[in-house]
């Protein structure tokens, strides 16, 4: 089984976001970048499928700046077989432009399964998996927490409001992974050493035309200053009163 995992380099979730001088993008100064947490579930699942079948190939693919290579090497160290970086110098690429670049590369590769993290924790759009799948003419199942592969088919449990849906999908298919699917492994020392010798292909990302235009980026609206209504039990009647009389939510 050939599995392609699409991944992204993102700011660490503890990052304090500052808007850059252009007023439209993140100021990268002092920001630590690394793997997208949801992608780790996708890579882990791909490795488990390959290990269980004792055959197949896991390719990690990304559209990103040159430094994305580091993230891809992390996945090679976890056990992926090879990596492809579509090096991107465009200052902004929306979900369609990313999906088009991915799709144009994936179209040239044989695959049975296409995995994505369900969301990248920078743009938080959760759309690249679905758009890529549609461009490739394959089905998609999003936010998957359990995956069972059969012959030419897969059964997926996907998270929905108040429960989950069991979805049957024909392969090849795109699947986006949600926390709960598995526990991603850490790279071992031998994995890190082996990663250095694994095939790593780097080529320019195809130009992609964004349909969305970022007009501005701002800090979120400030919440009005709150107040401590009391200490310990003294606060209880005050809180009930405030929520009823002022906030009118209870």
């Amino acid at each position: 089984m050939k599995i392609i995992v699409c991944v992204k380099r993102v700011p660490d979730t503890t990052t304090q976001v500052k808007v850059g001088p252009d007023g439209k993008s993140l100021d990268p100064a002092g920001v630590t970048f690394g793997p997208n947490p949801y992608d780790e579930f996708a890579v882990e699942e791909a490795l488990r499928i390959k290990e269980k079948r004792a055959q197949g190939e896991v390719v990690v693919l990304s559209v990103g700046v040159a430094e994305t290579a580091q993230v891809l090497r992390t996945y090679l160290a976890m056990g992926a077989d090879r990596a492809i970086l579509l090096k991107d110098d465009q200052p902004y690429r929306d979900n369609f432009a990313v999906a088009s670049a991915l799709a144009s590369t994936i179209r040239t590769m044989p695959f049975d399964l296409l995995l994505f993290g369900k969301q990248a924790v920078d743009d938080d759009g959760s759309q690249v998996g679905s758009i890529t799948a549609r461009l490739l003419g394959i089905p998609v199942v999003n936010t998957v927490v359990k995956l069972e592969l059969g012959e030419g088919k897969a059964k997926c449990h996907r998270e929905i409001e108040g429960g989950h849906e069991e979805v049957e999908v024909t392969l090849p298919a795109a699947i986006t992974t949600q926390k709960g699917l598995n526990e991603p492994r850490f790279a071992s020392l031998t994995g890190i050493m082996a990663a250095k010798k694994k095939p790593f292909e780097e080529k320019p990302a195809p130009a992609g035309e964004s349909r969305l235009q970022v007009l501005k980026m701002e800090p979120p609206p400030k919440r009005p200053a709150g107040r401590i209504v009391g200490k310990g039990l003294d606060g209880v009647p005050e809180l009930v009163k405030a929520l009823h009389d002022e906030a009118k939510v209870v």
Partner: protein, 328 residues
């Protein structure tokens, strides 16, 4: 001539979902500002009888796909029908609520239209006759304003953010049938079953009130304190990442950057210090209450009302006070 606003209306058990009616309400406001009509699209089996009610929320035309083939949601099936409707109507924008279904469908429809999705929008506006949206990025640590270089625009709207218009029951609109162009055998993805989580009554992302617990609870055995308060308030139970990672609560309860983003009317954070990842998931709540023994906990910086104190003392007293207040 820019076309109408098309709103996809999701239904559960034949009833339009509130989140979709919020999207329809917002679609109406936008359409009025743009001087264009609103088209609502409703798919399912046996849904036609309720279709007319969508006029109450502002639809000028209602498209109904009513077929046994649409009984269960299918990404490719619904996307085909919705994409065709967008093109046939010449819509300039299609709006969906950012529910599990809406998020799933939006990208697949957008891909078919060779366009992007402005996902999880929290604001819309019309500037010089053109649509703009606002949406949070970096888990709400920043907000971007987006314009659209190419139409149609595909938007998902964050639930609980856009006001639901009062139903105007005197308003009517024509209901038109849309033929289902595929058979079940043509579908590549099919929902086989829907499993509801045991004992779950209110879904976090749909809840009007949420009571969340954090590490301050000291152990899973103390979560009944949270559950009781939530029950008295008619709310849902949430949790911080720390307690989910510790295995005290299931992942579906997690609020924050690697969990759910919620915007209830009232969010009560109990024993949660307020790590930036948690704040990201709940800071768009209308009112925030924090109960924590550490007066310097970051959660107090964004809380509207705070109680500094021992949660084991404060929460049971609060539950009792609300029970008395709401019961009497």
């Amino acid at each position: 001539m820019p076309g109408p606003i098309l709103v996809f209306v999701e239904q559960r058990d034949g009833k339009p979902k509130k989140q979709s009616l919020e999207a329809l309400s917002e679609g109406r406001r936008l359409a009025t500002a743009l001087s264009v009509p609103v088209v609502a699209a409703l798919f399912g089996e046996g849904v036609k009888p309720v279709a007319g009610t969508l006029a109450h929320y502002g639809a000028d035309r209602i498209l109904v796909g009513d077929s046994p083939n649409l009984r269960h949601y299918s990404t490719d099936g619904y996307a085909k029908l919705l994409g065709d409707a967008v093109q046939a109507a010449g819509a300039q924008a299609v709006l969906l609520s950012a529910t599990a279904m809406g998020k799933d469908l939006a990208g697949y429809v957008a891909g078919g239209l060779e366009t992007s999705v402005a996902a999880d929008c929290t604001g819309t506006s019309v500037v010089d006759g053109k649509l703009q949206v606002r949406r949070p990025v970096y888990a709400g640590k920043a907000v971007v304003t987006l314009g659209f270089a190419k139409l149609p625009a595909v938007l998902t709207l964050r639930p609980n953010v856009f006001p639901l218009s009062a139903a105007d029951t005197a308003r009517t609109a024509p209901v038109e049938d849309v033929a289902c162009p595929f058979g079940l055998a043509d579908l590549k993805s099919v929902v086989k079953d829907v499993v509801t989580s045991a004992g779950k009554k209110i879904e976090l992302t749909e809840a009007n009130i949420i009571v969340s617990g954090g590490r301050g609870l000291k152990g899973p055995e103390n979560f009944p304190l949270i559950e009781e308060l939530a029950q008295v308030l008619g709310g849902a139970v949430g949790a911080s990442r720390a307690v989910v990672d510790a295995g005290w609560r299931p992942h579906e309860d997690q609020v924050g950057q690697t969990g759910k983003t919620v915007s209830p009317s009232l969010y009560v954070a109990v024993g949660i210090s307020g790590a930036i990842q948690h704040l990201a998931g709940m800071s768009s709540s209308k009112f925030i209450v924090a109960i924590n023994k550490d007066p310097d906990a970051p959660i107090f910086k964004i809380a509207d009302y705070g109680i500094v104190g021992d949660l084991f003392e404060v929460v049971p007293a609060l539950t009792a006070a609300f029970r008395k207040f709401l019961g009497g």
